[in-house]
């Protein structure tokens, strides 16, 4: 794949914690409108990489460019405003709020009214709230969360919360969606739902998806491109069929999960 066309370019990123490298010279390109998967054994640095992209960690060196804009040194909220959304591995919802409020929060930057207008909650402020509420309702329909709309998130089941987490990332109206193990701990039926959502996201909304997932079956099925990390280093990349046969990848997984 040509790196020039890439939406997100990760170039020679090193991330170290007190001398210990979590990521070493990782270079990755992510194409717009495609599903890119990052796989690797536990502790390979997948989540660290996502953290670097979304700004929770600051890469020690190297550069991460999104549509030509340097992300290293930016805070998560700034990166989120550029159009990168993130669904977390360990659900990071606002557990005291309803599903609706969780999603409305993701519209924060899209709600264009000033603090003083909010004091009166009339006119522009009210209209903005209604317009964005309609958008959120669209996402609720899309992610099939209608019945949970007013439920407090903390009281929902794990599978539903995972789905809310994804819905919230989607509500940000991103150009790039980072999904960190969206299917972890789910049963087969729930996994199928999520896979369907991911494919729909790509097809209907034209959003590029970066997927971290342990279920290699799913990864090989839906990914357009796969990167493999081990011990913080990129050991392989390519279309799923090529990666699956890569000897380096097989070695990395021996003793861990078997390939397919």
């Amino acid at each position: 794949m040509s790196e020039k066309k890439s939406q997100l370019v990760i170039d020679n990123v090193i991330l170290s914690f007190g001398g210990l490298n979590a990521l070493t010279n990782v270079s990755i390109g992510i194409e717009s409108g495609a599903i890119t998967s990052i796989i690797g054994p536990n502790g390979a640095g997948k989540t660290s990489l996502l953290n670097c992209i979304s700004g929770f960690y600051k890469a020690t060196s190297g550069s991460i460019k999104f549509e030509g804009i340097e992300l290293v040194g930016k805070s998560p909220y700034q990166i989120s405003k550029l159009g990168i959304a993130r669904a977390f591995q360990n659900i990071e919802l606002f557990s005291g709020l309803s599903v609706l409020d969780n999603l409305m929060l993701a519209r924060h930057t899209h709600l264009k009214y000033s603090f003083f207008e909010s004091l009166f909650f009339y006119g522009k402020c009210q209209n903005q709230e209604i317009i964005n509420r309609e958008y959120v309702e669209g996402i609720i329909d899309f992610m099939e969360l209608e019945e949970y709309r007013k439920a407090v998130v903390g009281e929902l089941s794990y599978g539903i919360r995972k789905r809310v987490e994804m819905a919230r990332a989607l509500t940000l109206d991103p150009k790039l969606l980072l999904l960190d193990e969206p299917m972890a701990g789910m049963n087969l039926g729930e996994k199928e739902d999520i896979v369907r959502f991911i494919l729909d996201i790509k097809a209907e909304r034209d959003i590029a998806v970066v997927l971290i997932e342990h279920d290699l079956g799913v990864v090989m099925d839906i990914s357009d491109y796969v990167y493999v990390l081990d011990f913080g280093m990129k050991i392989a990349s390519g279309i799923p069929d090529v990666v699956a046969k890569d000897p380096a990848v097989i070695t990395a997984y021996v003793g861990g999960e078997s390939l397919i």
């Binding site: 914690f17 989540t47 953290n51 929770f56 977390f88 990071e92």
Partner: protein
């Protein structure tokens, strides 16, 4: 020069009191992330029990000290069991506010005893101050520094050698992981409070023997602990000790040199808190505090 040295000596001796008080504070924070606003009241209660045992029951003061430290152990356990244990699982800020309520409650209870208004002193139990070259060192100051040293040595030994101590460190590092290897987190919290009460009682003894037992001044130390722990780092035992001594010395130097310049003086009261703000702005996790890395 003698003046400076004298300020230094007083500063170190006051600093060692702060260190003792901060020690318990840090232990509680380290194990449960709770900021304890009742540390000052614990100090006062310890100091009063020693007085009661010495003056009313006529037990020699050193034995009173030991007995009081033992009693404080149970006071700490009791407080944890009654007020903190029901709060496990609640948001941290609620737990912190429980300690604010606890501070109120304890000071109320103190007023049910004669100590609320009684400005008392321990009977003299140490010889006259040592004087040389214009310097005056009180025995109480030496005793204070000694007690702090002993306390810290025991704690250091406890944390590195004993199983319980190691499990406390484990809990401080990672509560979930410790639970999974069978460490009782509840026991560790209880122990943290017990130790905090014990070190507070020791601090109370030193304050009492140096400056008398006035409830207001004793509880005021509870507030001085904040600059100390912010300087040292909220979760560092070494930080509590070094921070305590630095704040003690700074406070004395401020009183010694700035009060003459600033109209009205009283800079010793506010200087530690100015230091606190500056540290928060330039080195938020203190000298020895752990910079928190967040996992998402």
């Amino acid at each position: 020069m003698a003046y400076f040295l004298q300020l230094l000596i007083t500063g170190i001796s006051i600093g060692s009191i702060y260190a003792l008080a901060a020690l318990g504070f840090v232990l509680i924070y380290k194990s449960s992330r709770v900021i304890n606003f009742a540390q000052g009241e614990l100090i006062a209660i310890g100091a009063f029990i020693i007085y009661a045992l010495t003056v009313w029951v006529h037990i020699p003061i050193w034995i009173s000290l030991v007995i009081t430290i033992l009693i404080s152990y149970f006071i700490g356990l009791g407080i944890e069991r009654t007020f903190l244990r029901p709060m496990i699982g609640q948001p941290i800020i609620s737990v912190i506010m429980v300690t604010i309520g606890l501070a109120n409650l304890l000071s109320g209870l103190v007023f049910f005893t004669p100590f609320g208004t009684l400005p008392a002193r321990y009977p003299d139990f140490l010889p006259d101050p040592i004087r040389f070259g214009g310097l005056i060192i009180k025995w109480e100051q030496i005793v204070g520094i000694l007690i702090t040293t002993i306390f810290i040595t025991i704690l250091m030994w406890f944390f590195t050698k004993s199983t319980l101590g190691i499990s406390m460190r484990a809990v401080a590092d990672d509560q979930m992981a410790s639970l999974s290897v069978g460490v009782s987190v509840k026991k560790v919290f209880a122990l943290a409070w017990a130790t905090a009460a014990m070190s507070a009682a020791a601090a109370g003894f030193v304050v009492g023997s140096l400056f008398g037992l006035e409830f207001g001044s004793l509880t005021a130390i509870g507030l001085r602990v904040f600059p100390v722990v912010v300087l040292g780092g909220l979760d560092s035992i070494a930080g509590a000790v070094i921070g305590g001594i630095i704040i003690g010395v700074l406070e004395q130097l401020a009183t010694g040199y700035l009060d003459g310049i600033v109209p009205g003086g009283g800079t010793g009261d506010v200087f530690p808190f100015v230091v606190l703000i500056i540290i928060l702005l330039i080195k938020p996790y203190g000298l020895f505090g752990t910079v928190e890395i967040e996992r998402v």
